[in-house]
Symmetry: C2
Subunit: 509 residues, 2 copies
């Protein structure tokens, strides 16, 4: 069988631009994984890893013009957005380099012998070691930040794991260029090419997660695709951790008091957040609980005004815009659903943002309206009008897990009045990030970030963004009664590497 060609497609026209590569065969997958596995040892030195990540950042930044051009040509995300995304990606690589140097992620804990304990404690020294080859499944909507050079790649390399990326078919040319830049950075530090592999093709992705030498996987994408890969990872003879980000509705609750104080501001903020990037963010607010009555009406009017003036945009591929149009139509056809601003596609494949309204009472029990509680990728949101807090709570309690949950409060509620603390506790149960008076779009790269949440937001409890993301690619190992000469330097007495460590319960910094 001849391998099929992988084409770069212009989403603005639907036309094929160039043939970039061939879909990977099973042999190609095996070769990439074996090369990565053979490269494990080359990443053992933390200083080399940190230097490699910094060089990768500098090289990507140096290639900005051509990378942004390549990405725009096959994603239509626009140069401004893509320039920002590349800067974010470079910052992320540097931030992980800093974390590699700092060493907290090693979680060093040392207990010296204690014969009085029950049972006695021998000399025990624990830290985290890399898991091995990591499979990264790139997302469609971030050709840099959640793709070949994205968070999972950066954190896996930082943790000491070689990476094999399954490219997203929406930007194969960008993926190839970026991989070449990363391999150049690796070569500059004497690292083999195998530290960063790249594969194209659906079947290759399935082969990859099943490969015996793959030790863990990261995924950002749809529930359908992600769940299939999660299931394959769990069904292996030796299952592996699968960190998948599959989908999120990102509910927003606007309290009655908040709507009373800031209806227009909230409506405008919502319009900006839901239309950003043509609604193609995993943290797009997809369900907004707005009170009935005059202030809620004002919010909806402000939203309608802004959304109807928003520019149309081109989605990442034709399949997506078709699914978007069909998904909106199916939702709009449900009984009781209003369409203040219709989301539509024009003859030139551009989609205009829109939104739907529905009485929250339709969402408090299972039924056909449950479709409104499923993510619809693209520039649309659902405004559910609630009568009382109980009704809003009833809807929130029916939601699956989310990456984010947001509440807009009045000044008094923000100061602690009313039941605002209870609302926050409820949102905490359904999301990995809880926001007050903000919008979920925009995911900061920070130590305290958490980008994950109860299923289907994530298939694991770890984060794909932020300083603690290295955790997902490591496992602890404890050394018992190991002679000083044979201990890894991270675990030796006297803390020769100056790491943050916990020794006999006390912190050493």
């Amino acid at each position: 069988m001849t391998a099929r060609g992988v084409w770069s497609v212009d989403p603005r026209t639907g036309e094929r631009r160039e043939e970039v590569a061939a879909e990977a065969t099973a042999q190609d997958v095996d070769a990439a994984v074996r090369a990565a596995h053979a490269a494990r040892g080359s990443l053992a030195d933390r200083a080399v890893r940190a230097a490699f990540l910094r060089t990768a950042a500098a090289s990507l930044a140096g290639a900005e013009a051509s990378l942004v051009e390549a990405a725009d040509a096959e994603t239509a995300l626009g140069r401004i957005r893509l320039t920002g995304e590349l800067a974010r990606t470079c910052h992320q690589l540097r931030a992980f380099a800093d974390l590699v140097d700092e060493g907290s992620f090693l979680d060093v804990i040392i207990d010296r012998p204690d014969d009085t304990a029950v049972p006695p404690v021998p000399d025990l020294r624990r830290y985290r070691v890399p898991l091995g080859v990591v499979a990264v499944y790139a997302a469609s909507n971030f050709p840099f930040a959640f793709s070949v050079p994205g968070g999972d790649t950066a954190s896996a390399l930082a943790a000491g794991c070689p990476v094999v990326v399954k490219a997203h078919p929406d930007h194969p040319a960008t993926s190839e260029r970026v991989a070449a830049v990363l391999r150049g950075a690796a070569a500059a530090h004497g690292l083999p090419e195998g530290v960063i592999g790249l594969l194209h093709g659906f079947d290759a992705g399935v082969e990859l997660v099943r490969h015996p030498l793959v030790a863990a996987a990261g995924f950002t994408g749809s529930v359908r695709g992600g769940r299939a890969l999660f299931d394959a990872a769990a069904a292996r003879p030796a299952p592996i951790p699968f960190h998948g980000e599959l989908g999120s509705l990102n509910p927003v609750l606007v309290t009655r008091a908040a709507a009373g104080e800031r209806a227009e501001e909230i409506g405008a903020g919502l319009a900006a957040s839901m239309t950003l990037g043509t609604g193609q963010f995993c943290v797009k607010p997809g369900l907004v609980l707005v009170p009935d009555g005059a202030s809620g009406d004002g919010l909806v009017a402000a939203l309608a005004g802004q959304v109807s003036r928003a520019a149309p945009g081109v989605m990442l591929d034709r399949r997506m815009s078709d699914a978007f149009v069909a998904g909106v139509a199916e939702r709009a056809a449900l009984p009781g659903v209003g369409v203040p601003v219709p989301a539509e596609a024009d003859a030139e494949r551009r989609v205009s943002p829109g939104f739907l309204t529905v009485p929250a009472a339709r969402l408090t029990a299972a039924g056909p309206h449950d479709l409104l509680l499923e993510e619809c990728f693209g520039p649309v949101t659902v405004v559910a009008r609630y009568r009382g807090e109980d009704e809003a709570d009833a809807v929130l309690s029916r939601l699956p897990g989310n990456l984010t949950a947001t509440v807009h409060l009045s000044a008094g509620e923000a100061a602690g009045e009313g039941a605002a603390a209870d609302v926050l506790a409820r949102l905490t149960r359904i999301a990995g990030r809880v926001l007050v008076d903000g919008w979920p779009t925009g995911v900061a790269v920070a130590l305290a970030q958490h980008h994950g949440g109860p299923y289907p937001a994530s298939t694991s409890t770890s984060t794909s963004v932020g300083g603690t993301a290295l955790e997902r690619w490591t496992r602890p190992v404890a050394y018992q009664t190991t002679p000083p000469a044979l201990l890894p330097p991270e675990l030796r007495d006297g803390n020769p590497l100056g790491l943050p460590r916990r020794v006999d319960g006390r912190w050493e910094r």
Copy 2:
């Protein structure tokens, strides 16, 4: 259908002692899980949790005589061992109480706003929250330490998660008594009974892991049973973390130089470790690589001397001793396998320890001898005689994941001579705990402990013993731009609770 009775059986005679309870129906499972779910809020206060755990420890210690008697009657593990195990269990509960007070497990990270970052960083404050109801599957071989009041229960309660335990059928009466003691301790702190549920029956165990309100599971047992539950957890509409400890061979490598120096000592140590508790430990050394030649012969002779003098013991149940005898016979029948001391069962159901020998060359490639690389629960081990280091390495490289891996070194090797560091690196790849010049039996309860390892040692990267075990029952949540009045006190400015926290990258202690 009438519920089947659950009987306590005397393993010394095989006779039924008493009917303890009925197997749980699907309705019973649902009721226990709902009661646990309803009890979540009662565990929110860390001070209450810590006090409850300490009272539980004191109450169990206070009931020592009757609990040990009950456990000995249905496990035959003996009063000395069970008294020690109960002390360990109480120590573990107190140790988790201390960790709850100390608060490191909350992993508090705070980043204050930084508008200069790309993208900008808003106020972000992250800590770990309890996952919800935890299902604990009790082990046969530790009626206290890995059962109703064991590590998973203690760490889950410490993390703020109510627990529903699936009792092991080998000690149902002990399980009921212990659960009553724990519920009494809960009541003393005003906690509802639902914080600790108890169910009997195989079907109930399967129902439990499938229940929509169960948020995570912990398991200690066999590959077959554990894998079935792992698969059920992964196949749920919303999969949950399943932390299973399924099996481990616990390889030991004796270097030629070590055998040259300490053949007798190592042989005697191995005999003690493999026969301890009638070989019914998950960390029993099950494969020992010993050099050929005179010093290795001396080691085997010392082992044979000690093992042939070891007292017979009663295994936990008849199914186990039958499986042990059959497993040993199947292994002994393989070509080239020697039986210096036969492991046997007598007419009174007591098993005598024994061991097998095999040329390591039989284990370097796939074939019928792979059976020798599978755990055989009970007092037997396999001594594989190797000719050169390459042969020993080849065997190690074929092993699945292990809880432990041990090497015995000469004094010179311990000081760094030869390839000892390489050996440690290889052992690190296949185990969660690496020991030098020791024996894996005896798992200390300590902050630096790690009890887990690559599959099938564990289905996850977390530990079931030691200070970091709370991690498996929690998930991070980040709060963005949340007003001070609404922040959990753990995350407020000024560190009102005096927690270890990381603020803007700096540690606060």
